[in-house]
């Protein structure tokens, strides 16, 4: 599933994938794959991305539909 929340947050900040990758300590390809929903990042990487984008884990990685039975 595509992570549009992450992509929109990055775009809101006017940040490129390369810049976010540098801040999170990964390659641009990894950021691209996470946004495209083709790679599941570890919790540590999720936290690094959230710190770089100034948001919480819930803001980027939680969908309201997850809580429904």
């Amino acid at each position: 599933m595509k992570n549009m929340k992450m992509k929109f947050r990055r775009m809101d900040l006017g940040m490129s994938q390369t810049e976010l990758a540098e801040k999170a300590g990964v390659t641009r390809q990894t950021i691209g794959l996470i946004e495209a929903g083709d790679f599941n990042p570890s919790l540590n990487l999720c936290i690094s991305i959230c710190v770089a984008l100034g948001v919480t884990l819930n803001d980027l990685f939680w969908e309201d539909s997850y809580g429904q039975a």
């Binding site: 992509k7 994938q17 390369t18 390659t27 641009r28 390809q29």
Partner: protein, 153 residues
């Protein structure tokens, strides 16, 4: 047989680690076996052809798969200095093996064994340095392709 993955994430990571260790053990053990058989015991190539083919397939697969994914190495950087050091280490190791192997098989010809080892080392150095330089260039090209920023819609 159930085709679904029976392992959870933690178990999957452990299995990958086990397979990683097994792969590298097979790689280095095959290399040592080939060196001992050919250069120490002087086996004819036809007796070690099977091992050699498997070793080369494994080496080519590891190289090409990493290059395709824009990966060079965990610890080493793809630059001239690294290529020089790696080539020199491999050349010295190969030269020593050749010289020792030759001295064991032809006792009494120490000068010839040393000369053979030296010539082999120089040839291996040139060969490995050229190969590494070509591979490093391909890696950098691939890395540039993969790191190109896509346009945000």
């Amino acid at each position: 047989m159930d085709k679904r993955n029976q392992l959870d994430e933690r178990q999957e990571q452990i299995v990958l680690k086990i397979e990683h260790n097994g792969c590298w053990f097979a790689f280095w053990a095959l290399l040592v076996a080939l060196i001992v058989e050919q250069f120490i015991f002087g086996f004819d190539f036809k007796y070690i052809a099977g091992e050699w083919i498997i070793f080369m397939i494994l080496a080519v697969y590891l190289c090409s798969a990493c290059l395709k994914n824009g990966i060079w190495d965990r610890h080493l950087k793809a630059n001239g200095k690294t290529n020089l050091i790696v080539s020199a280490v491999a050349a010295v190791a190969f030269g020593v093996v050749m010289a020792v192997g030759s001295a064991v098989r032809y006792p009494g010809h120490l000068t010839g064994s040393l000369a053979g080892g030296l010539i082999s080392a120089v040839c291996v150095f040139v060969l490995i340095f050229v190969c590494l330089s070509i591979l490093a260039r391909s890696y950098r090209k691939r890395q540039q392709e993969m790191e190109q920023e896509p346009e945000d819609e």
